[in-house]
Structures are given as structure tokens and as C-alpha cells.
């Protein structure tokens, strides 16, 4: 059975070009980039090249790139570094819809005695910028707000938020794991101090990430050890994956236009056709400022895990914000923060596309999903009641 992969916000396929680029660095060129011999030195040159490629994608300087093991490590490093460098300040600002890498860390810090402001979002998933501005205080050590939300694709005005923070001398970090490679980012023209990105969200392998730290930003390492990354992150570099990430960033730059035209058109067609074919369905999150590859659709009165498992029969891969798929008993914290009613939140499905998706992929979902929804609604005790209510209304 063909796999129709529409779960690219979870992880992506390692691109063929990326795989080819990294493979020689396992068996043939396995030297340590820190070594004095030329066998290691040639590897160091490739790491330098990767650093340049990554910097180039986001308009950064190569020395502002620190390699890490994943997005979570980058997020943790950024926030802990800001706290370490602002010892008198006790306040952290973040949002209610952050990825657990930021959200759970901030909850943990709140237990340790930090004051944490979790900004709310409106029903469209948009940040309240007035609330944000009002929450910036002389006691604030850092504001950390994601660039784009992983579940809904909603893009936050982080450049404006960073400017407001800088005017008050407050550090600003953004988790840009979902944004990098999908929308243009230029660190030269904004005031963001730190930015996290992750390799496996843009067709590089799992296990490599980057923390961008603007030149001049005071920084304390999270992993303490060797002199790697100029003492900012100890530990021997994950060379093959770093080289892969460099190549993936080069590819992403080349595909940026395609992402925002071709992928966006596929996503829009999928969304429009599903909403047309399936009654009582709706998109979660604003459709205006949104990643081009993501749509989060709720199908009322049914449960997401059931939808995913029935789609799985056709090889269709997607995600859900329902309780049964969130690993807890509550539906997604993002949808709850948006005030999505329970009848809708449990039946949410996220489709996230990539440049490797085709029209045939979209056709298959448009063909197979409406009967799946219908089948589950026939089983649902709430569906019949609602239909009756609608008929008499």
C-alpha cells in the first residue's frame, strides 16, 4: 500500500540529496572535526560549510549558529541561558500554546519559584499583543514565543514582539521549529535574540538542532564540557547530521517559493474540498497568517483516534489533537487555549504537507475521508440527536 504522508509537522522524510550528502561521514570520513590531523580537518571544513548554509537560510552570521541535539535542547538552552544572565529577574513570558519543549519547561520553572505569564490566544489562535505588551516588566528575564504553532500553523507576530521586548531591554527567544524552511526568515532585519530550529522538520534527520544566538547576546552553555561550538555547547559534533542539516537548509531555500505556491495550493484544495464534502466541519486557527503547509480541521461529534486509525487503512498519515492521541486524557492544550468546544476538539485532525506531496495524495484523502467521517458519525450517540435538532430547528 502506498503511504500518503501528511504529517510533516511531526517529522519529515530525509531528502534523497540530504541522505547522499551525509552518508560518507559515517564510514569513510569519520574523523573528529576537533582533531589536528587532516583526516579530521577535512570533516571540520564540511561542518563549517554546513554552518554557513544554515546561517544563509535564516539571514544569520555563521558564528551565531550553535549546533544542538534537537529543538527541545535549543529551547531549554535559550531560556536557561537568559535566566542565568539576568540573575535579579524573576519573570518569564510565554504563551499557552507553546510546544511542550517550552511550555513544560516554563511550568517546571514556575514550580521553582519563577513568575510565569502564559499569554492567552483568541478563538482564531491569535496572540493578544496588548496583553503581551502589558506583561513586559522590568523584572522580565525573557519572553519566549513560538514563530508558528505546530498544531494549527498559526504564525505569531514575533518580530513585533521582539522589538517591543528590546525597547525594554528584555531578551526575546522564539521556537521557530515549524517556521524555518516554510516561510522566509531574516535575522538581519529583526530584533530576535535567540531562535530554535530542528533538523527533522525540514528533511534532515532526527537528532540535530540549532540554537541561533545573536552576536553580542550574553550566553551561558547548557551542556558543559569540551571546547566545541566555541565552548557554547560541549560534546563531539553529530557530524553526519550537521552536514545533512546544512544540505537540507540549502534545499529549503531553493524550495521556499514552491512551499508557498505549490504546497499551499495543495493544502488549500484539501481544506476546501473536505469542508465542502463534510458537514459540521471547520478549520481551527486563522486562515490568514498561517503556515502554507498546515490545516487543522475538526469534524464534530466524533473522536480523532478513530479517524486516524480508519485513515491508516488507506495508508494516510495525519495527527489529531484528541485526548486519546495526546498521550493524556485531555484534548490538545492548543485547542483548549483557543476555546474550541469539546464536541470539536476531540474530532480534530491535522494535515501537514511537504513539497513531496502530490495531487494524487490529496485526491485520495478527498475520496476516502468523507465516508470515514460518515461511518463514525453513524456510530456516535451525539450525531443523531444533533441531526434531529437541526431538522426541527
Amino acid at each position: 500500500m502506498r503511504t500518503v504522508y501528511l504529517d510533516n509537522n511531526a517529522t519529515t522524510m530525509v531528502a534523497k540529496e540530504v541522505l547522499d550528502e551525509m552518508l560518507p561521514f559515517f564510514h569513510d570520513y569519520y574523523g573528529n572535526p576537533s582533531s589536528m590531523h587532516s583526516f579530521g580537518g577535512q570533516v571540520a571544513r564540511k561542518v563549517t560549510e554546513a554552518r554557513q548554509r544554515i546561517a544563509s537560510l535564516i539571514g544569520a552570521k555563521p558564528e551565531e549558529i550553535i549546533f544542538t541535539s534537537c529543538g527541545t535542547e535549543s529551547d531549554n538552552t535559550a531560556i536557561m541561558s537568559a535566566l542565568a544572565n539576568n540573575p535579579g529577574k524573576n519573570h518569564i513570558i510565554t504563551s499557552r500554546v507553546e510546544h511542550p519543549a517550552v511550555k513544560v519547561l516554563c511550568e517546571h520553572l514556575a514550580q521553582k519559584g519563577y513568575r510565569v505569564t502564559m499569554l492567552s490566544v483568541d478563538t482564531e489562535g491569535r496572540l493578544d499583543m496588548d496583553e503581551y505588551e502589558a506583561s513586559l516588566t522590568p523584572d522580565t528575564a525573557i519572553a519566549s514565543i513560538m514563530w508558528a504553532n505546530n498544531e494549527t500553523g498559526v504564525i505569531f507576530p514575533v518580530e513585533k514582539a521582539a522589538r517591543l521586548a528590546r525597547e525594554r531591554g528584555i531578551r526575546f527567544h522564539t521556537d521557530a521549529v515549524q517556521a524555518v524552511g516554510k516561510i522566509p526568515i531574516n535575522m538581519k532585519s529583526n530584533a530576535i535574540d535567540m531562535l530554535s530550529l530542528s533538523g527533522h522538520k525540514l528533511h534532515a534527520p532526527k537528532g540535530v538542532g540549532v540554537l541561533y544566538v545573536r552576536k553580542g547576546t550574553r550566553f551561558s552553555p547548557f551542556l558543559i564540557g569540551g571546547h566545541q561550538e566555541k565552548g557554547r555547547r560541549g560534546g563531539t559534533e553529530n557530524v553526519p547530521s550537521i552536514i545533512a542539516l546544512g544540505k537540507a537548509c540549502e534545499l529549503a531555500a531553493a524550495n521556499m517559493e514552491k512551499e508557498n505556491t505549490y504546497v499551499k495550493a495543495l493544502r488549500d484544495r484539501l481544506e476546501t474540498e473536505l469542508l465542502k464534502a463534510i458537514p459540521q466541519s471547520r478549520v481551527n486557527g486563522t486562515r490568514e497568517d498561517r503556515l502554507p503547509n498546515t490545516t487543522n480541521i475538526s469534524f464534530e461529534f466524533i473522536e480523532g483516534e478513530s479517524i486516524l486509525l480508519l485513515m491508516d487503512q488507506y495508508g494516510i498519515c495525519a495527527s489529531s489533537g484528541s485526548a486519546c492521541t495526546s498521550g493524556s486524557l485531555q484534548p490538545s492544550h492548543v485547542l483548549r487555549a483557543m476555546g474550541v468546544p469539546y464536541t470539536m476538539a476531540h474530532g480534530s485532525v491535522r494535515f501537514s504537507l511537504s513539497v513531496y506531496n502530490t495531487d494524487e495524495d490529496i485526491d485520495l484523502v478527498i475520496k476516502e475521508l468523507p465516508p470515514i467521517i460518515e461511518k463514525l458519525r453513524v456510530l456516535s450517540p451525539y450525531w443523531a440527536t444533533t441531526q434531529g435538532a437541526c431538522a426541527t430547528a
Partner: protein, 278 residues
């Protein structure tokens, strides 16, 4: 991804008895859309007062749908008295097991069944003396206590897996732990001193016979069944089922869930009960 058994997948992909019975003899709806799963169960009796048909409607995940489908299959052909003895473990066993985090789906089935039978008997299912412990999922102290007793749960996490209680904000974890502690405190008191003297073979066989006579046989006879002790080999208790039990589909559940449990409780926790052909 959950590791579901083939049987769960089969009952999810092709659910049996989906729908609602018109003019049912018993009907109940449990759970809620806020909690993430809900089940409406209805059944109809034939002229011999056996369940002729049972149907369900479920809002929920794959295991919730499969549990409801399994329950309706188990119910068919049973008397109301037999149906009352069905436990959530019977539903899980029928499906070849459920992931621990999904046991609450089987508990939902048992709850629906209890309420549908109460509905049939015209008993009010309001239990005013019970207090809501888990506010997020509306679970009462009585429901938690029953799940703890019936499934021998010992941790808050297990209680969450079975009842959902404590799976939201987490503010009730201390209360849940207090209920667990209370159940085991009373159990220990009922059982007497924890240190049991080591039994000789003769003593063990005598105690098994006494326990069968006092604790087990009366319940089985009540349903027209009986049990015979065939042999005791080490800690293996070999028994034969008689009367209605010999032909009853649920006798395997009776063996493990009732006979073995009683013998473990009153004689020795090491005992394992096995049915032998007679």
C-alpha cells in the same frame, strides 16, 4: 501508536450491533463528550427473559468502540442476572486485552451495562451518598473504590487508566491515594494478620475445601452451577465445573475472577486454579 490486539482492530473496523433498539427493555447512556468518550447501550429481552438483542452507540476512540461492540456480543443470550456479573475485565479479556491506559474504555462498558439493568428494573441510579472526587471527569469516590476493589488497583496511575480520575488537572491525586489506602486498610482488617503461617498440604486442602463450601459454592448454586475439587498439586488447584457452570460461556471468567480470587484471598495468594475435564 497504540498496540491493539487483532480482536480490538476487528471490532473497531467492523463493529457488531451498532445502533439503537426501538422500545428497549433497558437503556443507558454514560460518559460525556467533554470526557472524550460516551456510550449508549440498549437491550431487549425475549420471552424467556434472556437478552435477545443488544445495541450500542459510541463516541470515542478505537478501543471504546471495540469495547462496546464486544459487550453487546457478550450480552446476547444471557439472563439479566448473568449479565449483572459481567465485569470490565470480561470485556477486556474478550478482546484479548486492552492497553493499560485504555482500560477505562472497558469500565465505561460495565457502567453502561449496570445503568441499563437499573433502568430495566426501574431502580434509580442516583447514588446521593457518593461525592465527586475528580472534577475534570466527574468521577465519584464510589466509582473509584469499586474500580480499586474489582481490579486490585494499587496506584493513582492505575486508577486513572481504569476510571480517568486524576487524568486532568491532577488536583485530586491525594484524594485518590487516600481511597486506595482506605480500601487496602479495610481489606487487611478483613483478612486478619498479614503474616500467614506456612500451610501443610493437608491443611491447605482442608482450607480450600472449606473456602469452596463457604465462599464459592453458594454463589455458583445460586446460578444453577456447582464446582468440584479434583486435586491439589503444589499450588495448582484442579477443579471441575458442574451444572450450569459446565456449559456457561463465562465460566472461564468465573474461574479466574471469582474462584481463584476467593481462594487467593482466604487460603494462599500463590494458588492458581485450573479447570480439568471430569
Amino acid at each position: 501508536m497504540w498496540e491493539y490486539t487483532d480482536k480490538v482492530r476487528e471490532h473497531f473496523l467492523n463493529p457488531k450491533n451498532a445502533g439503537e433498539i426501538e422500545n428497549p427493555d433497558g437503556v443507558a447512556e454514560v460518559g460525556s463528550i467533554a470526557c472524550g468518550d460516551a456510550l449508549k447501550l440498549s437491550f431487549k429481552l425475549d420471552e424467556n427473559k434472556r437478552i435477545a438483542d443488544a445495541k450500542f452507540k459510541t463516541f470515542g476512540c478505537a478501543s471504546a468502540i471495540a469495547s462496546a461492540s464486544a459487550l453487546t456480543e457478550i450480552l446476547k443470550g444471557k439472563t439479566v442476572e448473568e449479565a449483572m456479573k459481567i465485569t470490565n475485565q470480561d470485556i477486556a479479556d474478550y478482546l484479548g486485552g486492552l492497553p493499560p491506559e485504555k482500560m477505562h474504555c472497558s469500565v465505561l462498558g460495565q457502567e453502561a451495562l449496570e445503568k441499563a439493568i437499573e433502568n430495566y428494573r426501574g431502580v434509580s441510579h442516583k447514588k446521593p451518598e457518593e461525592e465527586i472526587v475528580c472534577v475534570c471527569f466527574g468521577v465519584t469516590d464510589g466509582e473509584i473504590e469499586r474500580a480499586v476493589r474489582q481490579n486490585h488497583l494499587t496506584t493513582v496511575e492505575e486508577v486513572t487508566n481504569y476510571t480517568k480520575a486524576g487524568g486532568g488537572c491532577g488536583n485530586c491525586h491525594e484524594k485518590i491515594q487516600a481511597i486506595i489506602d482506605r480500601v487496602y486498610a479495610t481489606k487487611r482488617a478483613e483478612e486478619g494478620p498479614a503474616e500467614r503461617p506456612k500451610l501443610s498440604n493437608i491443611q491447605k486442602i482442608r482450607m480450600i475445601e472449606e473456602t469452596i463450601e463457604r465462599e464459592i459454592r453458594p454463589s455458583l448454586k445460586h446460578d444453577g452451577g456447582d464446582i468440584e475439587l479434583v486435586d491439589v498439586v503444589g499450588n495448582r488447584v484442579l477443579v471441575a465445573m458442574r451444572g450450569a457452570c459446565a456449559t456457561c460461556q463465562a465460566s472461564q471468567a468465573t474461574m479466574k475472577g471469582f474462584v481463584e480470587w476467593k481462594l487467593k484471598e482466604f487460603v494462599s495468594p500463590e494458588l492458581v486454579v485450573e479447570e480439568v475435564a471430569s
